[in-house]
Symmetry: C2
Subunit: 231 residues, 2 copies
């Protein structure tokens, strides 16, 4: 399996291209609309047909490329809670794996940053990868103060789902703001300060006091992304 | 072996931390002075002692952390042509491997971007990595118009050294400006437009006509880096 991490400088967003090079098919996670020409270049160079474009959640900080990629490649699109977001061809659902050639993408429902946040788990040759969107960041987590975010729910998603993964699982997050590109579940378990807050109540209190400014593109991005970036 | 790619947003520089987790020792390639606290954090969290800080060349776009890391950790430093750059403890020399625990760093002299440009080759568990500095970039190469750069020499370094590596070798460059984090020798052989220029003369002509502005920190960075970032 080919795993390629790509980065959008303007919004600090990581995008992931997964390729089954034997069957010549690919999936892309959290694509950014302004980067679409680069994705098309890579797909063409690798000779891969895009079969799935997935967003971990409705993003507030960049415009998704789901709609544009569907137009350009005919890919299936995957986003959000069943019945809630009609722009995508397929709602995400925990337990309903997405199969792209030999790549099996397991879907975990990990709400808290938003109420439509999912993580994707992929195994390849004994190595497990967790694409955690904004649920689990490197030495951090997503915020919980908009889009029906909820600190209690995030705490549950982190401790009862993501931290149940093996320590060797590579964590590929949706963003990083200090230039770190990856982590592992074991590292985050040990060194992520927010995972070491000792109770759900203390975690909720901590999250309630972050007082972060809104993302600068939020007013444009959220409505656009609820239409797969195409409104 | 642990391989961790790190990124400095201000100068688009990739830094690489290599760790032998069994013997608890590490090497770092192309560290950036402003990021030193992050490197110290990672070394501490992984329980690694820094034994080698290496620059692929005297950089023109950022201040190296070689001197600062030596002060903070006592690490050995490695840089440039024998006898030419006295700030580093050890000159680099092709064929003179650097051993850090079980990690063997092979040194290739790959001049052309500058006359003191080296690449580092590391093998781990059947996977080969090439840390190519600014000699080979993803779908590009370093420029050749300052610091004794020479397009003919760069052409030789690319075609007679780096392209002799196996196609599956992962290419980890010194920079990328479009958010691509890695490549392979096979990909670059096939899709790097500058590697597909059909003669040394045409390549030199192409490089002579790039007309690039100087890097914005060049006047500060080059003299500072000739003193390991500590003048």
């Amino acid at each position: 399996m080919l795993v390629r991490q790509l980065f959008d400088y303007e919004t600090y967003t990581y995008t992931y291209l997964l390729g089954d090079t034997k069957n010549k098919v690919a999936a892309i996670i959290d694509p950014v609309d302004s980067q679409i020409d680069y994705y098309m270049q890579l797909l063409q160079e690798f000779g891969l047909e895009l079969k799935a474009a997935l967003d971990t959640h409705v993003h507030a900080d960049h415009i998704t490329a789901l709609g544009s990629l569907r137009e350009r490649t005919g890919t299936e699109t995957y986003l959000g809670n069943p019945g809630d977001l009609d722009c995508a061809d397929n709602p995400l659902q925990e337990g309903k794996d997405i199969l792209i050639g030999d790549i099996k993408i397991e879907v975990l429902y990990t709400p808290g940053h938003t109420d439509d946040s999912y993580s994707f788990i992929v195994n390849d040759n004994g190595q497990q990868y967790a694409f955690t969107g904004d649920t689990l960041l490197i030495r951090g987590t997503g915020r919980t103060d908009f889009q029906n975010g909820n600190a209690n729910t995030l705490y549950e998603s982190l401790h009862k789902k993501l931290l149940k993964l093996d320590d060797t699982t590579i964590v590929y997050p949706g963003h990083d703001y200090k230039g770190w590109t990856q982590s592992t579940i074991g590292e985050e378990r040990q060194y992520n300060p927010r995972l070491n807050i000792c109770s759900k109540e203390r975690f909720a209190e901590f999250m309630a006091n972050l007082n972060l400014p809104n993302p600068k593109f939020m007013d444009v991005a959220v409505p656009a992304n609820r239409s797969c970036g195409k409104n």
